[in-house]
Amino acid sequence: MTAGTERCTLVEPSAEAPDARDVPTGAIWLLRDSWTEARRHLRAVPRSPELLVFATIQPIMFVVLFVYVFGGSITVAGYSSYEQYLLPGIFAQTVLFGSAYTGVGIAEDLSKGLVERLRSLPMYSSAVLIGRTISDVLRNVLTFVIMFVVAYIVGFRIEGTLFEAALATVLLFAFSYAFCWIQALIGLSVKSAEAANSAGFIWMFPLTFVSSAFVDTANMPGWLQPIADANPFTVVTNATRALYNGRSPGSDFWIAASWAVGITAVFAFLAVRRFMRAARH
């Protein structure tokens, strides 16, 4: 500890008029606070490379397993190769799985008392959640880039225009962002990071497998088909698959986009409301 005399600069009894320290308000500050929070998480990414490694190995494993193990036995009519059919589904599944980190991270911040500290700062409280979801999407972009390279190596090609491919990618991330908010609500509702991890993942397996991501839903049993077809994950997979293959996604694009916007609106509202309440008890 340094000498007491230096300590005098530590807390200056407010010399300036009290109003000089008033808190700025407005949408721009909500965005700034959110970005400050996002930066907190992004700074941590290179320090836990193991997280990134796992987030990357899993989709690579899926690509390799499905393409080389099942690829020979699965044929999908109307596509030049199974890769062209499968990989958009793997992309969609990976960015969706990536959203689970949101819940885990929020549960962790809650259990460590970090949320309490943030709630006592003159920031916009909802920036805690917005910053978290933004950072998770950005991390997901990194995973996506790695996966895209692997996909290219195993033979996947963009068969449409670059614009169509970009549109497909944006749709994927809009969907992933929407699911971050579902995970945020889960993270706020459970008691620990471990619970958030299980609760966040378990329902994503049926969601992504009972879909058109890996196989044509027409080959599923009759009772399962309507469920698989109505699954929003099927819709988003179909739309991105069409775009990457240079086909018209038809109404799927707009239905998928509506799902993304709708889920974001509903779950962001629920999560922010729950966040305010959780912190007030």
């Binding site: 300590r7 530590l10 500050w29 606070d33 970090l114 309490e116 500290r117 006592s120 008890h281």
Partner: protein, 327 residues
Amino acid sequence: MFAVEAVGLTKRFGQIEALRGVDLSIPRARVLGLLGPNGAGKTTVVRILTTLLKPDSGRALVDGIDVAKESRRARGRIGLTGQYAAVDERLTGFENLEHVGRLFHLRGPMARERAHDLLGQFDLEDSGHRVVRGYSGGMRRRLDIAMSLIGRPSVLFLDEPTTGLDPRARLSMWALIEELARAGTTTLLTTQYLEEADRLADEIIVIDHGAVIARGTADELKRRVGGERLEVRMADSSELARVVELLAPLSCGDEVTDEAAASVAVPVRTVDGIVPDVVRMLDAAGLHVVDVGVRRVTLDDVFLTLTGHAAEDEAERERDSARSAAS
């Protein structure tokens, strides 16, 4: 003008009345100690004053700002260090400080400058660029307090700042809080350690079961309980009742008996020549005295006298009930 003023704060959690009308005020540049056992309502008071909780009734002002009505503005005037060191383990000490500075809406260079200064003042210069995961408990607490000072708060709230620290870290935390107080930081400190409040606080409020049961300086509180204590320890607790009876003429307040230790403490006005007298008297009565001594009153005695139970006992009970509720 007071830095903090609270009037008639009440809060109920289901069946439990956590606060039943708490009033308090802190003049600028003073340290208020909020003293009470676990579950007395200390943290609830802190959470209301720091805008984390809305009171059911009552009103609280920080820097003249109503914490319930203008909570975000009020948060610009406070620094909070909770019971757990709320630091981001993945970041360095410097980054933690800078981050909070940014959330106080300091500009980038300003936030970095403040972060740098605070690291120096809190003896964390050497570890400032290390990730917090590797910090000791004491270092985390220091960083935590540094983080609550980055916005130059009008009031610093320290909620049980030494809970869970080893004795050495506790002593250095006390030195730190004393230095902050000397520099003129208005502070509200909660503690269940009577010794801590005695040493650090200008004024003490004793709170139990959600209500203020006493307030004053440490000396005033001690005076209320009587000047000094005569302590008698017997070979066997069965003789305590008889001892109390015999000492009654000397007593100037309520005695406190400790069955387990077979001892009794009696407040007395004067201790001059009392020890040999008492030994002779008890011996003459055929009682088995092990030890007779005098000591100055501590805040422990104050607490016992005011609440009828020991602070530590209650803390134990709270922990036990928390444990059985958890299992």
